[in-house]
Amino acid sequence: MIESTSADVLLQGLLERWSQGDRDALDQLLTHLYRDIHAIAVRQLNQERHSSLRPTALVHEAYLRLAALREMRLQDRTHFLSMAARVSRQALTDEARRRRASKRDGGDPVTLSDTNLGEPDQTHDAVDVDDLLTELERFDPLAAEIVSLRVFGGLSIEEVASAKEISVATVNRRWAIGKAWLTRELTRE
């Protein structure tokens, strides 16, 4: 664990301020979250050189560490997870690009597994996924966001619906479309 007790206290304070509507607190919280998720990702990558990252597990680990500080309301949980998914995407792809560019790390791609895409044990290049999602944002921003939440945050269909305040049926439909497109592009030779 990276966090010290004093950091826990800090995070708790931020959480409380956020729950009272303080947007600055949210920014700071996301900064901490970024650092946290990034650290967990780097730790995992260093532990096992070729292991691929499981974004869902990273987000949940980050979430659990915060949830232990204070019981979040269900609503807060959904919002938290959706924000964490965005932070997770940024942190993981930043690290993936850095490694790809770095000679020291041999330029090995960082892969993602357990992503809700395809088979559970199938892995995808993190940079490819990020690039494709950026492209998808132009065609179908909603589908892109849903896919991003599902892939990088491990949100369930219901959680996405709750976070976006749209119906489960809508999420299901956009997810099916976005996922099919992404799957097609990722498996293209």
Binding site: L74, P120, D131, L132, D140, N172, I177, W181
Partner: protein
Amino acid sequence: MSGAVDDSDRRATTYRLFAEALDLLGDARERFLEEHCRADAQLRAEVVALLEIAEAGRGGVETGALAGAAPQREPSQTGKIFGRFRLREQIGEGGMGVVYLAERTDGVQQLVAVKLVSTLLATAAQHRLEREVRILARLEHASVARLIDAGVEGGRAWVAIEYVRGERIDAYCAARNLSTPGIVRLLVQLSAAVSAAHALLVVHSDIKPANVLVTAEGLPKLIDFGIATALRESEPARAATVEIGRLFSPNYAALEQLSGGAITVATDVFGLGALAYRLLTGAPIYREANSPVAYLMAVNQRDVEAPSRAALAGGRGESAARALRGDLDAILCKALEREPNRRYASAADFQADLQRYLDGRPVTARAPSIRYRAVKFARRNALAVGLAGLLSVSVVAGGVTVWLQSRSTALARDMAARRGEFLESMLKSANPREGKRDITVAELLDAAARGLDEKLGAEPLVEASLLGLIADTNTELGRYPEALATSDRQLALLRREGASARDLALAMADRGDLLSRANRYDEAETTLKAAIADLRRQSGEKPALVQTLSSLAGVYANTNRNPAAETALAEAIVLDQQRTGFPQQQLAVVLGNEGRYAESATFARAALDLERKYLPADNPTVLITQSNYAMTLANLHRPAEALPLQREVADATARVLGPDHPDTLLMQAHVAEDLFDLGRFAEAATIEHHAAESLDRAVGENHRYARGVWIGYAMAACNTDDAPAGLAAAKRVADIRARILPEIDWQTATIHGVIGLCLAHLKRFAEAEPMLLQASAILEASRGANFYQTQLAYTTLRDMYAAMGRSADAAVFGGKIEKVK
């Protein structure tokens, strides 16, 4: 991304066409593609490829990352002919292959579902398919999709099954917002279907929402016996999952499926339980397990969360949770036990319990466990101890019941009559029905004590007797200072009037009881010993000596000196020369407190036989003895025998004393205890709640009876939906008790133990733990480790720690639990 070289407009177009075409089916889609792709074969191929991916992936669009078996992609078989059937469109995908909607080629109007074994699995799966065909051919049930035909075509096996036009059961329930009983009724039907399959030695082993459709008529249908395994009676078949790999559905798979254990009917019980859990709570079991590995770990490591709590956590609201709390919690948790042999033994048993729930009958999932039995001892004995006091005198608003004295002498009968008249006149002078509703028994007693001189001044012995009666009643009400003051007056009067040693001794025996009840055991002992010494000097006062010795035995019992109590009672029994049965009964109580239930039953039975010889069966003394005997039977785990005896007592008491008489209410509470022992908690709680409320009205909440019955109610209620009310009742009793006797003693600890029990049932472990630890420590120190209340506290602690997953702590208290003697 070597392939991503198309210009971005073209890619956007492809995406848009794909998204639009996805909403179109059959010819409409064909026309759409014709129109928009025309000569651009590459564009068309791209869109079709995306459509195929989307449609193949649709089955897997359930929540979370818990994908099931790998879908096998293969070229479309639409239009091809298998046996008598032409495939129309793909409608699904299972672990074994794809499923098509098909029509008959011979002109008969019939739609069927044709399942094609995927080429990849062909070798392993074809054998299983053959088995499936044999199984399904024998299986006919309204709630199972019927097998129509099967065959091999071009090297691949196919099966035609009844095409079920319906909605997935989860969507069906959600769309209709089905009530809890409505969902349970569907589950009952499904369980019957699974049970019919089990009768053919067939296990489904993949029960989940995707495999259950509900028709427009509301009939649930189990489809896809994809990995059904024929059971041999002698040797349970091995899991298909071992050979095939990941052919299970994580949210519904049992531990033995994941670990490669034997697949038995218990596997389907788990599947039915998991399906029920999903439908009733809206959440999968282990909802936080978001990957197959996390699920595997969860099933290995912990029990499912109670459905009522899962429903609450899932935002279903308090009323939905309330409907689940109690019976359904118990039924689902039993079906979802991780160890197969702890689940229901069959789907039929699961079905039967669901039906009992629907019928409002007690469910077997909540049959008494060791904990309930231990709880039972505690309560039963608490009241049995009370009965010993009741044997001297019992008074209530509206009448007087005289027990022992009434049959000892003519004088006593006369006195009893005079006392009855007096009290009746007092009651009439303060008739609650005539406007003075606020008058309490306590006020009445105070008025009576004041009015004695003027009404009965000329009859000091009757006055003394009445003072004794008032003292007893005050004692029962927990008004110890008043009781002691009245007792002082009584003794002074008796001495002044030169009463006989016998009368003095009896009064001192009562005072001894009173002091004992007020926890002033030392004074009680001194008083009773003095009375006994006086009586021993008199000859021919055996009955009085018998009663006083019995009272002293009560003090010994209450101060954890059971051997001394037994010695005193042994003397009393000898002296009694088998005339009253009273000391035998006292001895039965003392032995019961020690957990020596068989001996206890022997003495209770002896007392009953004795009394029946010279008293009519509906005499209150005989009834109480019969009730005590029934309690000893219940202590011996024979509640079914005890129940009719207690019912008889309760009915007779109601007849003799009236339905609102406190003794009647107490006897009803005893009936409730037997129901409790039989696992009929809701009935028990209802009766005890009524009895306790009535007692509050009749004798006031301070009365020992009322406190005892409220505690009984708390114990029963904590096993039902009303656990919070049970907790409130127990807390109230604790408050009352603290007001009457502020010191902390074993009785307080007992009440705290019950509060802890209620908290544990409510899963408020953090509050329950200190309560139970303190209670067990006090009980252990004051009454010893083997005392039944101490044992109760240990049992509750053990079960609570087990529930919390703190197995080391559970083992500590498990080790302290004595085998029932």
